[in-house]
C-alpha cells in the first residue's frame, strides 16, 4: 500500500510555475529520492506535502486517505534545508518543545528525547545551548528533533550538509533503520552519490515538471548507452568493427560501444576469435550524476521569471 500519493499537484506563484502537474507514488518503507537542480520546485513540492502550502490544484493522499494537514502533520517529520534552532534555548528543552509541537505530551516528549540522546551519545548536551554547538552537532540535533516523534513519513532536505563522514554514516545508518521499521523517507538533495547509495526510488524534477521517475537501477538501465569495459592480457590493435565502436583505449583496456542489433556475447566472441585473453568484461552503467547532468543540461541553468496566467 502506498504511504503517499500525489496526483497532478500544481502550485503557481506570481512569477513562477513552481510545481506544474507533478504526480508520484511512494511505497511504505521505501527511501525516495527527490532530485532536481536549484529552483526546480523541490522545496515548494515538499511544503505542500508537509501542509505548509495549499496546492492550487491536485490531490495528496496520505496513508490511503485524503491528506488533512491539521491531523496528519503529527505523522510527518520535516527537516528543511533552511533549518535552525533557538540559539539561546537549552538543547534538551528545545527538543522537548519541538516534540510537544508534534503533539507529544510533556512526559512522553522527555522520555523520547532521552532515548534518542542516549542513542546518539548526546546525554551531556541537555543543558547546553545551541550557540555552544558546532555546525555538525547542530545538524545531528536537528535530525533527532525531526524523527523523535516516530513519524510515518520523514522528509529530509539535504540532511548531510555540514556533517563529517563519521556522523554522516551515523545518520545514514539511522535512515536505513527507520526505513526498516516501516517509516517512509523522502530524501531531497543534489548530491547524487548519496542518492545512488541510499535510495530505492527517485524522481527528478526540473522547472516544476517531473522529468524522470523510477527505481535507481531502472533509471540507469533506461539511460545506458551499451558501453562495455574490456580488460585484455595483451595489447590489441583492434579498431571499430561491425559489432562495436571503440570509444577509448588505455594500456590493455578498451571501452567499446556495441552497435544496434548485437549482444555483449558477440563482442566476447570477437575477442575470443582474435585469441586475446579476456581478464574482465563489464557493462558501464551511467551514474545518476551523468543522467542528471544530461537531462538538466541544455535547459537554461537558472530559471527565468515568467508571467503566469492561471
Amino acid at each position: 500500500m502506498s504511504m503517499l500519493e500525489v496526483r497532478n499537484l500544481r502550485k503557481y506563484f506570481a512569477t513562477q510555475k513552481a510545481v506544474d502537474d507533478v504526480s508520484f507514488t511512494l511505497e511504505k518503507g521505501s527511501i525516495f529520492g527527490l532530485l532536481g537542480p536549484n529552483g526546480a520546485g523541490k522545496t515548494t513540492l515538499i511544503r505542500m506535502i508537509t501542509g505548509i502550502f495549499y496546492p492550487d490544484q491536485g490531490e495528496i493522499f496520505f496513508d490511503g486517505k485524503t491528506f488533512d494537514p491539521k491531523n496528519d502533520v503529527v505523522n510527518i517529520g520535516y527537516m528543511p534545508e533552511e533549518r535552525g534552532l533557538y540559539k539561546k534555548m537549552k538543547i534538551g528543552d528545545q527538543a522537548v518543545y519541538l516534540a510537544q509541537l508534534k503533539g507529544l505530551t510533556h512526559e512522553k516528549a522527555i522520555e523520547k528525547v532521552k532515548e534518542w540522546f542516549i542513542k546518539f551519545e548526546m546525554q551531556s548536551w541537555w543543558n547546553k545551548k545551541i550557540e555552544d554547538l558546532s555546525k555538525g552537532m547542530g545538524q545531528k540535533l536537528q535530525f533527532v528533533t525531526t524523527v523523535l516523534h516516530d513519524p510515518k513519513l520523514i522528509i529530509l532536505d539535504e540532511p548531510f550538509s555540514g556533517l563529517d563522514p563519521v556522523n554522516s554514516n551515523l545518520i545514514k545508518d539511522e535512515i536505513y533503520n527507520l526505513a526498516q521499521k516501516g517509516s517512509t523517507i523522502i530524501f531531497s538533495t543534489h548530491r547524487m552519490e548519496q542518492v545512488e547509495e541510499i535510495c530505492d526510488h527517485i524522481i527528478l524534477v526540473n522547472k516544476g515538471k517531473k522529468i524522470l521517475d523510477g527505481s535507481v537501477n531502472g533509471v540507469k538501465q533506461q539511460f545506458k548507452e551499451n558501453l562495455f569495459n574490456i580488460q585484455l592480457n595483451q595489447s590489441v590493435s583492434a579498431s571499430s568493427s561491425d559489432i562495436f565502436d571503440v570509444i577509448s583505449r588505455r594500456n590493455n583496456g578498451l571501452v567499446v560501444k556495441i552497435r544496434n542489433g548485437y549482444q555483449a556475447n558477440d563482442v566476447l566472441k570477437y575477442f575470443i576469435d582474435q585469441h586475446a585473453g579476456i581478464l574482465s568484461f563489464n557493462e558501464i552503467l551511467p551514474s545518476l550524476n551523468e543522467i542528471f547532468i544530461k537531462l538538466v543540461e541544455g535547459t537554461s541553468l537558472s530559471r527565468q521569471f515568467q508571467k503566469v496566467t492561471v
Binding site: A14, Y78, K87, L101, K102
Partner: protein, 435 residues
C-alpha cells in the same frame, strides 16, 4: 489550541527567566523610587544649615528687630561701619552680612548681602522676602494704611469643584485627573512600544535562525504568531503585577523612611488647621479620593491588552517581512510607530482638554484609543467620558484587533518563509489581500 498553549508557555518562560527581565521588573521601580527618595530627602533637608547673619541697618528698616526663625539668626551691628566690618564678620562668627544703606522708600537699591561663598537660593529668597516685607510695611505706614487691616482684607482661597448630580456629588481636582491621565497614557505608550518591539524581535529571531520553517511544519503560522503575541503580552502583565506589588510595598516604606513627609501627609488627610501650609497636599489627596481607581485599573488593563494586541500583530507582520537586517526593520516600523506617536500627541491635549473634538476622536479610533482614552478616563466615566463613548471605543478596539490580527496573519504566513530579501509594502499588501 493546545499547541498555542505550548508556544505561549515557551515564549513566556524564556523571557521571564532572563536576567534582563528581573532587572527591568525589580530594579526599575527601585531606581525610580530611589530617585524620588533622593529628591524628597534633599528638599526636606534643604536650608538646615545655621545662618548667623549680621545686619547693618543704616535705614532703620527693621527698627532693630527681626524675628529669628528656624535656623536664621539675625544680629544687629550698630557701631561698626560697613567697610570695616566686611573684613571682620567672619571672625566674629557670622556666616554673612546684610547691609541696608539709607535709601529712598520708592526706589530701594544697593541692599547687599556679603558672604565668603555664594549663598544658596533658598537662603537668598528667604532674606529677600524678609526685606521686602519690611519695605512694604514701611510704605504702608507712609501711606497711612494699617498693615493689620490689610492682612484681614487679603484673600487666599482655592476653588473646589464638586462633580455630579444629586447625592453623588464628589469633589474633583482637574490637576490630579490630568496628571493621572497623563501618567496612564505615557505608561501605555511606553509598554506598547517595548512589548511590540519585543514581538517583532522574536519573529525576526525565528526567521533569522531559520527555525520558522521547522515550526511551521508542525503548527499553523497563525498559531505560532498568536502564541508568541499572547506569551509576550503575559510577560508584560506579569511585569505590571510585580510593579503594582512593589509600589504597594513602597507605600508602606515611605512613612518609615521619611517620617516628616508622612506627618504632613497625615495632616493633609485629616484636613486639620495645622495642615494649612500643605494646602497642595490637601488638594491632591482630595483629588485622588475623587478618582475611581477600580475602574481606572480595569480600563488600563483592558486598553493595555487591546492596544498591545493591535500593535503586536502589526509589529509581527513587520518582523516577518524583514530578512536579516536590523536597519530594514527600522524603516518598516516607521508607518507603525507614527500612529503611536500621533496618539501620544493627542493624549497630551486630551489630558488637558478631555472633551475637545480631537480627544473624542482619538479615544474612539482604535489605533490611538488605548493611549488617548486612558488620559480621559480619570476625569470621570459617566460624566466627562459618557458611557456610550467608552463602550464604542472598546468595541472599536476589539474590532480593530480582529482586523489587524487577520491582516498580520496573512502577511506572516507568506513572509515567515521568504528568505533573502526584504519585502516592500507593495508586496506585503499583495500577501495580505491577493493570496
Amino acid at each position: 489550541m493546545n499547541k498555542i498553549w505550548v508556544i505561549l508557555k515557551r515564549e513566556y518562560k524564556t523571557r521571564v527567566a532572563k536576567r534582563s527581565f528581573l532587572l527591568m521588573t525589580i530594579l526599575v521601580p527601585l531606581l525610580i523610587f530611589g530617585f524620588y527618595a533622593a529628591i524628597i530627602a534633599v528638599a526636606l533637608s534643604g536650608g538646615n544649615e545655621k545662618q548667623n547673619i549680621a545686619v547693618i541697618d543704616e535705614a532703620s528698616l527693621f527698627d532693630g528687630k527681626i524675628e529669628n526663625k528656624d535656623n536664621f539668626t539675625f544680629t544687629f551691628i550698630n557701631e561698626a561701619s560697613v567697610d570695616k566690618f566686611r573684613d571682620e564678620y567672619r571672625k566674629q562668627g557670622f556666616t554673612s552680612l546684610l547691609y541696608i544703606p539709607k535709601f529712598d522708600l520708592n526706589n530701594p537699591k544697593d541692599i547687599n548681602i556679603y558672604s565668603e561663598t555664594q549663598i544658596g537660593p533658598v537662603t537668598k529668597s528667604r532674606i529677600e522676602k524678609i526685606v521686602n516685607n519690611a519695605i512694604e510695611n514701611k510704605r504702608m505706614i507712609a501711606a497711612n494704611i494699617d498693615p493689620a487691616k490689610l492682612n484681614n482684607i487679603k484673600s487666599d482661597i482655592t476653588i473646589e469643584n464638586p462633580v455630579g448630580k444629586g447625592k453623588d456629588i464628589k469633589k474633583g481636582s482637574a490637576d490630579v485627573s490630568s496628571a493621572v491621565g497623563y501618567a496612564a497614557g505615557i505608561l501605555i505608550y511606553i509598554t506598547m512600544f517595548i512589548y511590540g518591539m519585543m514581538v517583532m524581535r522574536g519573529v525576526m529571531e525565528e526567521k533569522i535562525n531559520r527555525i520558522a520553517e521547522v515550526i511551521v511544519s508542525s503548527v499553523k503560522p497563525f498559531q505560532l504568531m498568536v502564541g508568541k503575541i499572547i506569551g509576550i503580552g503575559a510577560v508584560g502583565l506579569t511585569q505590571f503585577v510585580i510593579w503594582i506589588i512593589i509600589v504597594f510595598i513602597l507605600q508602606f516604606l515611605i512613612p518609615i523612611i521619611f517620617p516628616s513627609l508622612a506627618h504632613s501627609m497625615a495632616a493633609a488627610q485629616a484636613n486639620t488647621p495645622q495642615a494649612q501650609q500643605s494646602g497642595a497636599l490637601t488638594a491632591i489627596s482630595q483629588g485622588l479620593k475623587y478618582l475611581n481607581f477600580g475602574l481606572i485599573i480595569f480600563c488600563f488593563i483592558f486598553y493595555f491588552i487591546g492596544g498591545y494586541l493591535i500593535y503586536a500583530s502589526l509589529f509581527a507582520a513587520v518582523g516577518c517581512s524583514v530578512s536579516e537586517d536590523q536597519q530594514e526593520a527600522q524603516q518598516l516600523t516607521l508607518p507603525i510607530t507614527m500612529p503611536i506617536v500621533l496618539a501620544f500627541v493627542i493624549m497630551t491635549k486630551a489630558a488637558a482638554e478631555p472633551e475637545s473634538g480631537i480627544a473624542v476622536f482619538g479615544s474612539l479610533f482604535p489605533l490611538t484609543s488605548p493611549i488617548v482614552m486612558m488620559a480621559r478616563i480619570p476625569y470621570g466615566i459617566g460624566s466627562t467620558v459618557p458611557w456610550w463613548q467608552l463602550g464604542l471605543s472598546m468595541v472599536f478596539l476589539i474590532m480593530g484587533f480582529l482586523f489587524t490580527a487577520w491582516l498580520a496573519g496573512k502577511i506572516y504566513r507568506t513572509g515567515i518563509l521568504m528568505y533573502g530579501k526584504k519585502a516592500s509594502w507593495k508586496e506585503m499588501w499583495k500577501w495580505a489581500f491577493k493570496s
